[in-house]
Amino acid sequence: MKSIKDIERTMDFHGEALDNIFETYRLMRENCPVGRSEKYGGFWFLSKSEDIFKVEQDADTYSVKPTMLVPPVADFPMIPIDTDLPELMDYRRILLPLFTPQALAKMEKPVRDIAQDLAREFADSGTTDATAGFARALPTIFFSRLAGFPEKDWPKFDAWVDDILYERTLDPERAKKAQDAVMAYFDDLIEKYRGRTIDEADTGTIMDYLLEAKIKGEPLSRQELLSYCYLMFLGGLDTTAWAIRASLWHLAQDLDAQRKLRENPDLIPMAAEEILRTLSPVQAMGRTCKKDTVIRGQEIKAGDRVVLLFGAGNRDPDIYDEPEKIKIDREDNRHLAFGAGHHRCLGSNLGRRELVIGLEEFLKVVPEFTLGDPSEKWYGVGRLTLNFKK
C-alpha cells in the first residue's frame, strides 16, 4: 500500500495514473486538497471545486504562462490558451461569434446528418470499434469542415493527435515529431488559403476567420496564425471524441440508463452533462502563480505552478450529492469540464451539441449494446468494442 504522502508526491493525471484516478482524487480531496506533486517539474494541485473556480476567475493572481498544459504540448505559446488578459480577449473575439447559441443553431442539421450516417454505417457494417466508427469520426468530419481542414487530410489527424496528446508523457521525441508535422501542415494550408488554391473548403471556416482577423488594425502574424491553428486542431478533435466515447462506454454498462435514454431522448442533454462531469475529457489544466498567495492555508509562491484538477473538483462531495455516481438525470450540474473564467473553453457549446446529437443519433440506430472488452479503459480515445445484435 502506498502512503497518502507517496500518492501526493507522485500525483499524475496522464496515462495509467487515470486507471484509478477517482480513488486518488478522493484521497487527495480528503487528506491534502492543496497537494504537492514532484512530477513534471513540481506543481501544486487543487482538488476542491471551490478552489478551482476561484483560481479560474482570478486573473490578477494567476497566469497561464508559459503554458496551461502540464506537461507542455508545444514548444511555443499557444493562442489563445497560453495568453493572458487583455490580449486573450482580442484573440478569443475572433472566433467567439462562431460559437454563440445563434451560430450553433445553424450547425444542428449538418452535425445530425453526419451523426446519422455514421451511426447507420456502424450498425450495418458489423465492425465493433465505436471509437473509430463513431466517437472520433463525428468530430473529425464536422469540426474539420467547420475549421476548413480539407477532407483528403483527415486520415492523418488521428495519429498526430495521439502522438501529441497521449504519447508525450511516454515518448516526448515522438510527440515533438508530430508537433513539427502539424506545424508544417498548417504552414502549407495557410499558404493555400492565402492563394485560394483550396477548393474543398467553403468560406466562413475557422481558417477564414483567422486569416481575415485584425487586431488593432493588424492581421495576425504567421506565427500567431500557426499557433492558433495548432491549438484549434488539438482542442477541437480529441476532447469531443473522448466525451462521446466515454458516454458510450458508460451506457454499455448501465443498461438501465441506456433504455431510459432510448425511451426518453429529452434526457440526453442532461445525461451528457453528467458524463462531462464524471468522465471529463480534460482532467486538469495548469496555471502559474504571479504573486505570493495562500490557498486553504497553504502558501503558494510567485512562480509556482498550480494544477487545477477539474476531474477531482467535479466529484467534490461539497458540491454534489453522491458525487461518484453517474446519474443521468442530475438536475443541478455546475461542473468544471470546460473550465471557467476568462479561459472558458471556446468550443464548449459546440462540443456539447456534438455530444448530445451524437448520442441521440447513435441510440436511435444502434440496438442495445454492451461492453465487448472490459479491459478497455474509461479514458482516452482508444478502441471501444461494443457488442450488439446486428
Partner: protein, 66 residues
C-alpha cells in the same frame, strides 16, 4: 421573483440558454443578458430560471425571491 445577471462574471457558457431561452439573450460574442422586460420572472418561467442559476458555472445569475 426577479432575475439578475452580472455581465462582469458571464463568460458565455450559454447554460442559461439551455434552461430558460425565453429569459436570456445573447450578443454577437455569445455573452448573455436578461431580455428586456424579463427581469420580473413569470411563474411559468421560474423553474427554468432557477435551473439556469444553479447551472451557471460562473455564478453570474442571481435570483431575488419576492
Amino acid at each position: 421573483m426577479k432575475v439578475l445577471l452580472d455581465s462582469h462574471r458571464c463568460q458565455g457558457h450559454a447554460r442559461c440558454a439551455a434552461f430558460a431561452p425565453e429569459t436570456f439573450v445573447f450578443d454577437d460574442d455569445g455573452f448573455s443578458r436578461v431580455r428586456e422586460g424579463m427581469e420580473d420572472v413569470k411563474p411559468e418561467n421560474a423553474p427554468g430560471v432557477r435551473k439556469a442559476c444553479a447551472n451557471c458555472p460562473e455564478l453570474a445569475i442571481s435570483i431575488i425571491e419576492d
